[in-house]
Symmetry: C2
Amino acid sequence: MADRLIYLPLGGAGEIGMNAYVYGYGAPGKERLILVDLGVTFGDMDSAPGIDLIMPDITWLQENRDRLEAIFITHGHEDHLGAVGHLYSRLGVPVYARQFTGALCRLKLEEQGHPADVVRITGPRPEVTQLGPFNVQFVPVSHSIPESAALIIDTPAGRIVHTGDFKLDGTPVVGDAFDPIVWHDIAAQGRGIKVLTCDSTNVFSTHPGRSEALLANPILEWVMAQKNMVVATTFASNIARLKTLADAAIASGRKVCLLGRAMRRMVSVGLETGILTDFPDTIGPDEASNMPRGKVMLIVTGSQGERRAASAQLSRGRYLGLSLKEGDSFLFSSKTIPGNERSVGRIMNALSEMGVDVFDADDGLFHVSGHANRPDIEALHDLLKPEIVIPMHGEHLHLREHMMLARDKGLTSEIVVNGMMMDLTGDTLKVVDQVETGRLYLDGTVLIGAMDGVVRDRIRMALNGHALVSVIVDEDDNVLPDAWVELMGLPGRTRGGDDLARHIEGELAEFLESADNRTVSDDRKMEEAVRKITRQVAMEEIGKKPEVTVIISRLMAD
Amino acid sequence: MADRLIYLPLGGAGEIGMNAYVYGYGAPGKERLILVDLGVTFGDMDSAPGIDLIMPDITWLQENRDRLEAIFITHGHEDHLGAVGHLYSRLGVPVYARQFTGALCRLKLEEQGHPADVVRITGPRPEVTQLGPFNVQFVPVSHSIPESAALIIDTPAGRIVHTGDFKLDGTPVVGDAFDPIVWHDIAAQGRGIKVLTCDSTNVFSTHPGRSEALLANPILEWVMAQKNMVVATTFASNIARLKTLADAAIASGRKVCLLGRAMRRMVSVGLETGILTDFPDTIGPDEASNMPRGKVMLIVTGSQGERRAASAQLSRGRYLGLSLKEGDSFLFSSKTIPGNERSVGRIMNALSEMGVDVFDADDGLFHVSGHANRPDIEALHDLLKPEIVIPMHGEHLHLREHMMLARDKGLTSEIVVNGMMMDLTGDTLKVVDQVETGRLYLDGTVLIGAMDGVVRDRIRMALNGHALVSVIVDEDDNVLPDAWVELMGLPGRTRGGDDLARHIEGELAEFLESADNRTVSDDRKMEEAVRKITRQVAMEEIGKKPEVTVIISRLMAD
């Protein structure tokens, strides 16, 4: 059979987060493969309580790891590289990235005990990485972290451009500007661009994106207008923003103190890799707490309301010797990611209770997005003139909107979601396989499947409470009538004011006293009967049916 | 001591939701009291998993119920009347409301088995309800539900205006318009207005509010542009919106089908009470499913992504014989309340997967808010010229912003949050007491305190999982070494691939075999030791510490 070019998203297509996209070229079923990005997403109480990180289920890739050439990481955000450390051992291939991104990859690998030298630092275009049928180049684009790159993936079937996350920013403050001339040239070479796999995050934003450089003046004016302590929070990885904030502090006669591990790490990696050359000197929290309040700016982690980050700690009181007071000012130089509204709101309100003036970026003065808006996406379509547009990095709604946008321009486009293996060889996209995909959860130190039932049981306990019943069967196979009931996450008292556990025990005693031998001798039957009675009694007494765990202990004769 | 006028919010001040405000007049500690509104708020997985409703803890009011004259309900939203049925028996005083609101109150009372005749239907100003030192009038205002009212509360210490929820809408489609002349007169009477207790919900919205009537044309144009089945969702209580949607359907040659219990109930209460006079005839789901798709509009519940509402059901497949398909159109004629973004997003994406075109109100064409925006709040300040402004119905941030707005106009204003009893008699506000407040949770059919530990335990089980250990001590006070461990919401396997429960049992056996008599004879010590070992082993093997419940069964000699 003829060689073919395939595309298979394992994460990020039909969701925002945990990006992982496979490209392949070769004889069907024997294609050589590369993986672009290997990110995580974050759990929430609604869908994944207690889960530390969520990453794509890469079982298919693991089963085909002998065909995998390498992993390419487009940029240093968690949703693009966060799973590299956790999943590296399942793939065992080199990781290619540019310098700053590569340094972050190495930290991720080292944290999980892997050697740092699996990361191959790669320069931008014209440097080419040749692996099997692929020639891959990193092309600088602008985004909300330095050194973002799109990939040019040249294959015998044609040229693919995989944008990664990008925006059209000619003045990104730190890192590479988006250069339309470069992309014009890329599109003009050879047969042009066959496939554009393109970021869809902001397809619903109808105005053209704004440059990072536009923030410098409003932020400086804002800082100058504040009289006491100034605090600003943003994503630690948005180094351009950190620089804009810090520059504003210095220009208004303040010292800068960075709070939060991620914040200090990002700045130090930025300095080490040379992408950050002129960040102002900073002071530590001790020194900051001894300065006059009007002479300090804290730049802190926790813009999304993360419970353990510096902003949350400050909103709860003293943190590293620093505390906020009436008349201080706190700026969220960030957008709240959908789902984090309540956490962010809690912090803002706690600050308000202290008398701190809270400023957000809702009026657009203090934040710009890192993603291309709808007109910018259109501009990229026009600039690159691809034959095929594959919308990626978006929920289904985003992918669908992006597809319609591309089709309106007469381009071929389809919605491709996680698990759909597409043949891109011809003029149209064809589904050639459906691969099992899903999510892996990092729970403590263990990786579990999303469908293993662990999280389902947690959600059930959270919604319904948990009743535990211990039943003992003695050496003569007689069941002891006094079962023991313990409740967790359930009201102690019934509507009538009785003790609920004792009440259930009473009802169970009635059953156990008269239970026949066939039931007593069968763990399954006993358990079922005890569960049913417990749930019924609870339903009558408190109006809800708890989860029930029954432990039957059978005593052995000596 | 001289009589005084007091104000005490028990809910709604420092949060959005569960409104409950007490006013009192009389000798200190003997003031006669009225309660304005008695609403609920809704739980979420983050803070109140499994909780059906949240309402204010009214213990203080209960303890002083002999001083309570009545409850006044400003309008029919759940956050203003939702707790009336659940808490009525704790207060036992009449409930005053206008006709439509009163009909909704009666339904709430009947659901909980209380007589409907405790509700006294009251006409709008000039009708006056005289109770003790209070003369109370309902003054029609516009909002997103018909028959909203502000209250004029005349006391010997002066006139209070309590706005309830309001907006300045001269053309609200259904229900009462906001009439500035009426309010001008109210402010001009006697000594004018002493205290304005004022809705703060939209204080951060800087543009003037828009009228409900502005939606008719955009909605009609939208409906006419759709070819197949049209579905629209909004709050069931927004009867004006239901009418605008239904009118658009009829004008474009479609029949209207209402789906969802709340939707049908609101329309029927609207018709019964006469506030809704010209709602078009509707058809049932059977008839709708037999009509050509281009001839039907479904108006459905579930604009906030509620799992059991009609919109969620339709997004999951067939509902009452109706199902959506490629080419149908679904309009969210609503704003997503912060915290509901993920639930709404899930439904939108599920619809998108069916090929349904999803439209939201983000561009403002298909929804207007029911609350006064910042310029409207200012306009009300200017119109009423109160001596004192008390911001209410808002998170701390909102109250603070509203206070600053009032102070900028030279008005006296303070932030008063739940539990602060204020003396309003003089020119300034004085805190005279701090009352214990909090939240009551409706869990199934039982009311529990937010601090009872039930919800805390649920959250812990959801985050950490639950390990159950059963230990048996025999008739001779010897502990049986084979403890039984059951896990719920925990990975079954350790990082090394062992069975986690069996592994914990092994470690416990080692301990139990060598446990000394002092430990074995003491339930508390045994429990503590078993819990500690279980948590340690889990930490080593899976990297997290579960909640642990230990059941020690002591066998009795016959």
